[in-house]
């Protein structure tokens, strides 16, 4: 059981910044995210795109914003459960929340802050008969352990960065690797595209474009895949088929937690603290809705700040709290680090 003061669901900008604001109040956070890395949409969809409306940052790449936030929250040593989806919520006899992920990891805290953006990123699946039958039985949508593919025959489908990167990576591991894409153009980083070309020219990989998978076959697990390549049908013996068509967010299990939902977002009390209809559960950032809601990162930061103040009052109902300015008080990390403004020197001039 992983214990903290606040369980944050979602490692996007709002969730990450909440760690900082909570840390100033000496509250310890643990973040759960279904993606294998922090950053949410900024990391998964547009890490290389610039953002222009972060206060004081005339221009910052989404990926760099995530790195800066990770640096900013480092002193407050947040815990992370990455690559797992928050599945269910319960309350224990002390009134604390228990959140269990799809992999069974349990987390306990008196406060839950949902910062889930547009939801859990789930893989886009190709439309193929019997696909479900082979899921985790020859068909994988996310590569968790590349060693699984050692000396196996693997076929990757897709035209983006992840399809290219994994093809390159697995070309040294798999017995045979085939990359197919619906068209001949790829939209990955230039050096990845060039590397693929090199691997193809040296017969290290097989590349079929434009090509599409149209049939899967196999008795107990996937054995044969049929592709259509330039109007010709091809039969390929295979151990693994990895379709990498990107991830799309879905609200997922949170929708069944008894929270008031409106237009796929969680209703919160925006005039006070962004708390949901369940006391102790807050929703911040793109995942919430209230009159006048704007889905902006900068609004998520504000919401995270107010949420933490309210969370503090719930955890310490009898303690008086006053807003402290970091310029005055500095930052004392849970990791023993301390940052503070330089003391002014007073000296007489004679």
């Amino acid at each position: 059981m992983i214990k903290s003061d606040i369980i944050i669901i979602g490692a996007g900008p709002a969730g990450l910044f909440a760690v900082f604001e909570a840390g100033l109040l000496k509250l310890k956070c643990h973040i759960i995210d279904s993606l294998p890395m922090p950053g949410g949409q900024c990391a998964e969809i547009y890490p290389k795109k610039p953002i222009y409306d972060i206060p004081s940052q005339p221009e910052i790449l989404a990926g760099d914003l995530v790195s800066k936030l990770m640096e900013q929250i480092k002193p407050f040593s947040p815990g992370f459960t990455l690559g797992e989806m928050a599945q269910s919520i319960d309350k224990n006899s002390n009134g604390e929340f228990i959140i269990t992920t799809d992999k069974g990891t349990q987390h306990q805290a008196p406060i839950v802050a949902i910062a889930g953006g547009l939801g859990t990123f789930t893989p886009r699946k190709p439309q193929l008969d019997r696909l479900k039958e082979y899921e985790d039985n020859g068909v994988d949508y996310i590569i968790r352990d590349p060693e699984k593919y050692r000396d196996k025959k693997v076929l990757i489908a897709g035209g983006g960065d992840s399809a290219l990167d994994w093809t390159i990576f697995l070309s040294n591991i798999a017995a045979e690797i085939t990359l197919i894409h619906r068209r001949s153009e790829f939209r990955g980083a230039i050096d990845s595209v060039e590397k693929i070309q090199f691997l193809k020219n040296n017969n290290k990989i097989k590349l079929f474009t434009p090509a599409e998978v149209f049939k899967l076959e196999g008795k107990n697990s996937l054995e044969i895949i049929y592709i259509k390549h330039r109007e010709q049908e091809k039969k390929i013996e295979i151990d693994y088929f990895i379709p990498l068509f990107g991830l799309t967010p879905k609200l997922g299990p949170i929708a069944d937690w008894g929270l008031e939902i409106e237009k796929n977002a969680i209703k919160v009390n925006n005039s006070i603290d962004y708390q949901t209809n369940i006391p102790g559960i807050y929703a911040i950032g793109d995942v919430n809705t209230y009159p006048g809601k704007l889905k902006l990162i900068l609004c998520g930061f504000h919401e995270a700040t107010l949420m933490c103040q309210s969370a503090y009052s719930r955890i310490h109902p009898k303690k008086k709290n006053i807003l402290k300015y970091t310029t005055v008080s500095g930052i004392t990390g849970f990791d023993g680090t301390r940052k503070e403004a330089q003391k002014s020197t007073i000296r007489a001039i004679e």
């Binding site: 949409q41 969809i45 547009y46 439309q127 790829f186 939209r187 990107g246 799309t248």
Partner: protein, 106 residues
């Protein structure tokens, strides 16, 4: 309004919505759908990076050519047909008067 154009959008339940879209607000079709509360996510905000605003063009209007980004996204998206477009890549302008589109499955 003189600056508005009328567009007919068929939602995922097959219901038609005749909506009026402003030509002077730098809006695209995805944004207009959101303004009218039609179920279009527009997850990436209009960067042609998610295909959640995919639609099928039903009328014969002349539309701007697809950018390489839009072409690439449509090559990865599901339910793509020959008349598929990402609605975030189509700006509202006068010549779209009477345009008919259908939202692609999500």
């Amino acid at each position: 309004m003189e600056k508005d154009v009328n567009i007919i959008i068929t939602d995922r339940q097959g219901k038609d919505h005749e909506i009026s879209a402003p030509t002077d607000m730098s809006m695209n079709i995805m944004e207009v759908c959101k303004v009218y509360d039609l179920a279009v996510e527009g997850i990436c905000g209009g960067m042609a990076m998610c295909a959640s605003c995919q639609c099928y063009i039903l009328s014969n209007h002349e539309l701007p050519n697809k950018t390489p980004d839009e072409e690439a996204m449509l090559s990865e998206a599901l339910y793509v047909k020959s008349n598929s477009r990402l609605s975030c890549q189509i700006k509202i302008e006068k010549k779209l008067e009477g345009l008919r589109i259908e939202l692609a499955p999500d």
